[in-house]
């Protein structure tokens, strides 16, 4: 996976390492570059954008200290709630909330999750809330396991990939981040036109930017949090937010993710 670093104004200063996953808008190099420029400018030091294929990899890097912070998902955050703290949560459509979408092919007649039994289903990542947990917990509420309810399940490790898989007909249905689907509907309408949303989850906590709790008091993380929370104040930051179709960043408490926690509980109960 790539590690993209910006040039440090201080020259020899240690770069700040931010982890990203392809679950996010992984295909847009322009977004990542803009983020990097904005953060470098705000922090006054170079920023390395570390991308990995899975949440699991990024989370482990963060826990091991290979990353200073990471843009994760509420699900892995809650999985490691004792070790991780919230730095900031993106604001989308005025709230730090989003939904999970259950999508099928545009010409599919399915109306609900129950209609998809036996089909091939695409998840984005086993540690993704919108791309796995929501659908798995919906099935768990009915006493069903995803791998048994569906004829076959696959992980695409990218919300955009889920949309591609459903749109192309590779799979019948998919679980996707509602924010990503809506963003794609604006940027790549031809891609989402091949899909149809048949179910939307309740509003859940938006994927947060996290850091290790034991490092939250460190100066660079404090500066990073400050920079992220004020992202919209700089031109570069605003441009990056516009590309991400986000309103801004805000502080949040763990209570924001109670909905995800409930779903985790449901799934754990089944297991």
């Amino acid at each position: 996976m790539a590690a993209i670093s910006g040039v440090s104004p201080a020259g020899a200063a240690k770069p700040f390492r931010l982890g990203l996953t392809p679950v996010f808008l992984d295909n847009d190099a322009a977004v990542i570059e803009r983020l990097q420029v904005a953060l470098s400018g705000a922090l006054g030091t170079s920023v390395e954008m570390e991308q990995r294929r899975t949440y699991k990899e990024v989370t482990e890097m963060l826990l091991e200290g290979a990353l200073d912070a990471a843009w994760l998902c509420g699900y892995p955050y809650l999985q490691h709630r004792d070790a991780l703290s919230l730095v900031a949560v993106p604001v989308w459509n005025g709230e730090p909330l989003y939904r999970s979408y259950l999508i099928v092919g545009a010409d599919d007649s399915a109306q609900a999750l129950s209609d998809l039994e036996g089909g091939v289903h695409a998840f984005s990542d086993p540690d993704s809330n919108s791309g796995y947990l929501v659908t798995a917990s919906d099935l768990a509420m009915k006493g069903l396991r995803a791998e048994e309810f569906f004829g076959r399940t696959i992980f695409t490790y990218g919300h955009r990939n889920v949309v591609r898989a459903v749109s192309s007909g590779l799979v019948r249905s998919g679980s996707v981040d509602g924010y990503v689907w809506e963003a794609l509907a604006r940027m790549e309408p031809a891609l989402t036109a091949g899909t149809r949303v048949i179910a939307r989850s309740e509003r859940l906590g938006f994927p947060p930017v996290c850091a290790r709790s034991d490092r939250m008091q460190e100066g660079d993380l404090a500066r990073f949090q400050e920079a992220v929370l004020n992202f919209g104040d700089s031109a570069d930051g605003r441009a990056a937010l516009d590309l991400l179709q986000l309103d801004g960043m805000t502080r949040a408490t763990p209570a924001l993710f109670d909905g995800i926690a409930r779903r985790m509980q449901i799934l754990n109960n089944l297991q």
């Binding site: 076959r152 696959i154 992980f155 192309s168």
Partner: protein, 476 residues
């Protein structure tokens, strides 16, 4: 085929050379095109092999892990990145033959049997190309780390290669056709030029109209080529023909004199007979000069005898003179003939049936000399054949545009050699007279026919001569 046979050699040979040039051009083109096809097929096979190998390398680990998304993603990226969208469709199946992913999942859904799609697919190494196939379908084992982990079915768009091949074929065919055309034309012209002496020879032969003339020296090809020798041989042959014709003319002339010679003894006898009477009449006049009645009778006798002699002499003179005058035939000519053969008939005590029934206008359409010669020769032949006390006849009739002469005799019939001379069949046997041969030649010159039959003890020689459209010119 008849058209070809009717073509002259000077056209047939050049055309044959041109056709051979075209055939060589076609064969050469075919060889080059087949080589081009082989080259293109090898190129496409190599392309297919590399394509499959590249996919195997990229897909191997994903297929091994049944990672449907990665297989799909790799396939679609490979298809999107392929040169000019070469890959139209690809599907990958695992070891169980079930599809893991395809570039068009709707055509090859996940877990569907790949066998349903692979009908008619070929191995990359054994790929054969049709003339106009723009796509090829390949099925190859997916080998990863030396182990077969699945199968790859792929459809390649080779329309650009086919179009390139067709364009090359067209260009090649056009070029070869042009070169072949030029070579064929050059071959045609060169052969025509080489055969020009033969063309001239044929023209000379055509221009002769029955009397061949030698080709002038300045028109004989230089050197000692076969054609020069051919022309020299032709000239020698023409000289030989002329010599033969001269000999035949001399023979005919001799025959005329021979027939006259045969007549001469009869004529002498014919002259001698009245001479005795005339001398007796002269003695009577001398003895009985005083007896007017006796003198008058004797003078009348002498006058008749002298008239007879005058007629005989006149007929003989006519026979010699006619050749030069080209006078038209008349009934009087037959009277002359009757007079000429009369002594021969008397000597052999033969009887004669004489019927000249053709109208004078019909007779006048023919020249007198050859007709007289024909009739005289046949009559002399008949007197010879009929023998002592025999019977012969001459009938001359006009019938349906023809003049028919029929000479018959009661003889034993013509010998085989005589028949051949008269009818002009086979080669002339040595010996024998030229009278019947002369009849045959004269009849042929007059475009007539000779018929020969024998019935009721009579040998009948019929001569049919078509009446010419324009009568022979009257003598000046």
């Amino acid at each position: 085929m008849n058209f070809w046979r009717n073509l002259s050699l000077s056209l047939r040979v050049p055309l044959l050379v041109a056709a051979l040039m075209v055939a060589v051009g076609i064969i050469a083109s075919q060889l080059v095109l087949s080589q081009l096809d082989r080259h293109q097929a090898a190129r496409i096979r190599e392309l297919a092999r590399l394509h499959v190998e590249a996919l195997s390398v990229a897909l191997g680990p994903h297929v091994l892990r049944d990672d449907i998304w990665e297989v799909y993603d790799t396939l679609t990226r490979a298809a999107g990145a392929s040169e000019g969208r070469r890959t139209v469709f690809s599907a990958v199946a695992g070891e169980n033959g079930r599809v893991l992913a395809a570039t068009d999942p709707r055509r090859a859904p996940v877990d569907s049997p790949i066998a349903a799609l692979s009908a008619g697919a070929e191995r990359p190494g054994a790929l054969s190309l049709g003339r106009a196939e723009s796509r090829v379908r390949l099925l190859a084992p997916l080998v990863y780390q030396g182990r077969k982990v699945g199968q790859i079915l792929t459809e390649l768009d080779i329309s650009d290669l086919i179009a390139e091949r067709n364009a090359t074929r067209r260009l090649l065919l056009l070029g070869n056709a042009l070169v072949t055309g030029i070579l064929a034309l050059l071959g045609y012209l060169a052969t025509r030029r080489m055969l020009l002496p033969i063309t001239r020879l044929v023209a000379w032969m055509r221009a002769t109209e029955g009397a061949p003339h030698p080709i002038p020296e300045d028109q004989i090809p230089a050197g000692d080529s076969e054609l020069a020798r051919l022309v020299h041989t032709y000239n020698d042959m023409v000289c030989a023909i002329e010599a033969k014709a001269d000999a035949e003319r001399r023979l005919a002339e001799r025959e005329r004199f021979v027939s006259l010679g045969r007549l001469s003894s009869s004529l002498a006898h014919e002259i001698n007979n009245p001479l005795g009477g005339l001398l007796n009449a002269a003695d009577t006049i001398r003895q009985y000069a005083d007896r007017p009645e006796a003198v008058r009778k004797s003078v009348e006798l002498i006058t008749r005898g002298l008239k007879h002699l005058r007629d005989v002499a006149k007929a003989t003179l006519e026979q010699n003179r006619l050749d030069r005058t080209r006078a038209p035939l008349s009934p009087e000519d037959f009277d002359d003939l009757r007079l000429l053969i009369g002594p021969e008939l008397s000597r052999r005590r033969q009887s004669l049936d004489w019927a000249i029934e053709a109208p004078p206008s019909t007779l006048a359409a023919f020249p007198a000399a050859p007709l007289r010669q024909i009739a005289l020769n046949l009559l002399l032949n008949a007197t010879e054949a009929a023998g002592e006390g025999g019977r012969l006849g001459l009938a001359v009739r006009g019938r349906e545009g023809c003049l028919c002469l029929l000479v018959s005799d009661s003889g034993p019939g013509l010998s085989d050699a005589a028949c051949q001379r008269l009818l002009g069949t086979g080669h002339d046997l040595p010996g024998g007279g030229v009278g019947l041969r002369l009849v045959h030649d004269l009849v042929r010159e007059l475009n007539g026919l000779v018929r020969l039959d024998r019935r009721a003890g009579l040998t009948r020689i019929g001569i049919e001569l078509p009446i010419p459209e324009r009568p022979e010119e009257a003598p000046c």
